[in-house]
């Protein structure tokens, strides 16, 4: 027979652990800042041409870069996984044809609540690094950094990349999904 105090402390410890995890889970929010339109390599004046062997880059400062905003309390540990194959595919032709694609990503967890400020301080990951962990930092009180509206600070994930070289492929629409998971 266990001592009643032992049981009480054990249950208290288990309960506190659960509540802590639950609280973190309920207060972490993520959203895409530039709407749901994906990472699109097309841009006016620079069409992607079959067979020209050129590569097309979207850099982090490019407005086409995808921006994912994560809001969470300071010190929240997060893990981000990005999954994608390294080609864009045209399934309208048989057999399907592909173009090489390498995504890149960067993140900023410096306690900056402004996306444009954070972008300049973002830390790039290795090309095609598909998993990384970081901890939300405290709000950084510097000029131009908006004050948090609740107990959460923001972190930003930027996804961009390189397409090509474009070989002699059938003209058409080439696409591929990227799966992003944020774990807390």
């Amino acid at each position: 027979m266990k001592h009643p105090a032992f049981l009480l402390v054990t249950w208290l410890a288990v309960l506190l652990s659960y509540l802590d995890l639950h609280a973190q889970g309920g207060s972490v929010q993520t959203r895409l800042m530039n709407a749901y339109r994906g990472l699109i390599f097309d841009q006016p004046g620079q069409p992607i041409v079959s067979g020209n062997q050129q590569s097309y880059n979207i850099q982090i400062l490019d407005p086409r870069t995808l921006v994912l905003e994560i809001a969470a309390p300071p010190r929240t540990p997060l893990m981000v996984q990005i999954q994608s194959v390294q080609q864009l595919w045209n399934h309208a032709v048989s057999p399907a044809e592909s173009i090489p694609f390498a995504w890149e990503a960067a993140f900023c967890n410096a306690g900056i609540n402004d996306e444009r400020m954070a972008r300049r301080q973002a830390i790039p990951l290795d090309v095609n690094q598909n998993q990384f962990q970081f901890e939300m930092n405290d709000y950084q009180s510097i000029p131009g950094n908006p004050e948090p509206i609740d107990d959460r600070v923001k972190a930003y994930l930027y996804v961009y990349g390189r397409l090509g070289p474009v070989g002699l492929v059938t003209p058409g629409f080439y696409t591929n999904p990227i799966n992003i998971q944020v774990w807390y």
Binding site: T10, D20, V49, Y174, P177
Partner: protein, 120 residues
């Protein structure tokens, strides 16, 4: 009492030791985004007769030739202007078609050179 402290201590350090929390991490958000690119065809022109009709040239696009080392000169004319004009193309790069908006025909094309024209 020592047992109690050990027990609670083990639980405490188990939580600290896991960077993602006391238990397995929970997926906060899972989303799928599309990466896409529209690939266009490349129109290749070897001779004057293969230039597109005028209404196919909206004034945008580019022209170039690839694989050579020296500049080439194209002679071209426009219906609105009887004078023949010369156009020098640097190799291995594109030239904006806006530079020659009234091009109606290539009058002479260097032999064994592939001129690539792309029309948006």
């Amino acid at each position: 009492m020592r047992t109690l402290l050990l027990c609670y201590g083990a639980l405490f350090f188990a939580q600290i030791g896991n960077p993602l929390g006391a238990q397995s991490p929970s997926p906060g958000v899972q989303g799928t985004l599309n990466v896409s690119a529209q690939v266009r065809s490349l129109r290749q022109f070897y001779w004057v007769r293969e230039l597109p009709r005028r209404d196919e040239v909206p004034g945008q696009g580019r022209i170039g030739y690839f694989g050579g080392e020296a500049n080439i000169t194209l002679l071209w004319g426009a219906k609105s202007d009887s004078k023949t004009k010369a156009l020098s193309l640097r190799p291995n790069c594109w030239h904006n078609l806006l530079e020659f908006p009234s091009m109606d025909s290539l009058i002479r094309n260097p032999v064994n050179v592939t001129i690539q024209m792309e029309i948006e």
